[in-house]
Subunit: 149 residues, 2 copies
């Protein structure tokens, strides 16, 4: 029986490259004391006044438990502050602290730099095509909450 090699699967290549890219980014972020998952939360909070943990969980497609743990770490680092939500007492509110708000643009530069390192050699067209393919895959799989802008 003929077994296709690992490299026959596009999923293999994607996983390999994605791991490299994320790992390299993680090393850059580590200098600033945050992880990739934490960066994603910080960036998401930067776009809003405040968000409830459940709203974050929805947007990032993580469980509430996972968000809770990430939030705990970010609060410990004084980058995020917790507050009681208004009205319905079950809701919490997560918002960037001034330190967190100041940090996000710096981390964004690291993200830019990392992307440039791995994808900078591609033409605009190539980048757009890869992005289009990825968006289409997510769309087909009914993945919600990706801002299609």
């Amino acid at each position: 029986m003929t077994v296709p090699p690992l490299e026959a699967h596009l999923g293999y290549w994607l996983r390999f490259v994605s791991n490299q890219v994320s790992h390299a980014f993680g090393l850059k972020l580590a200098d600033r004391g945050v992880t990739v998952a934490e960066w994603v939360v910080l960036r998401e909070l930067h776009g809003a006044e405040a968000l409830a943990p459940s709203a974050l969980a929805d947007r990032l497609e993580l469980t509430r438990g996972a968000i809770s743990k990430l939030a705990e770490r970010l609060v410990a680092k004084a980058l995020v502050a917790r507050a009681a939500g208004e009205g319905d007492g079950r809701f919490q509110s997560l918002a960037l602290t001034p330190a967190g708000r100041a940090l996000v643009p710096e981390l964004a530069l690291l993200a830019d730099r990392n992307d440039a390192e791995f994808f900078g050699h591609l033409s605009q067209g190539e980048r757009a095509q890869v992005e289009a393919v990825m968006r289409e895959i997510l769309r087909r799989h009914g993945l919600k909450s990706i801002p299609m802008k």
Copy 2:
């Protein structure tokens, strides 16, 4: 200061899609009692009589410790057998058991199916282009040991 959204980075899309693809594959493999990392080791061993842990570590770009742990799990599942290497007594030899050898083609079908689910809608040309982009990135970053076939 304007901060680019997460979606401005190709690395973000890659990570998102790659995680989805790997997770879906992981669910399929879980039915057969193996993980994605274990599958990669099994597939690698399928192409050879036997391999030393250090050879596997080189090919898969993992540490010897990581390989040791994966091998331990695969041995516990009776899919891989350990033997003493010949000559130099420091070397071990890892090889598929008959059960392991029989399982690999079945897992390969799952890999085919998973790839088809996520990438089947792409044209041959699109698939080839994405793969070419990924290979080029790995090449530029001096990543060794990817069989360029």
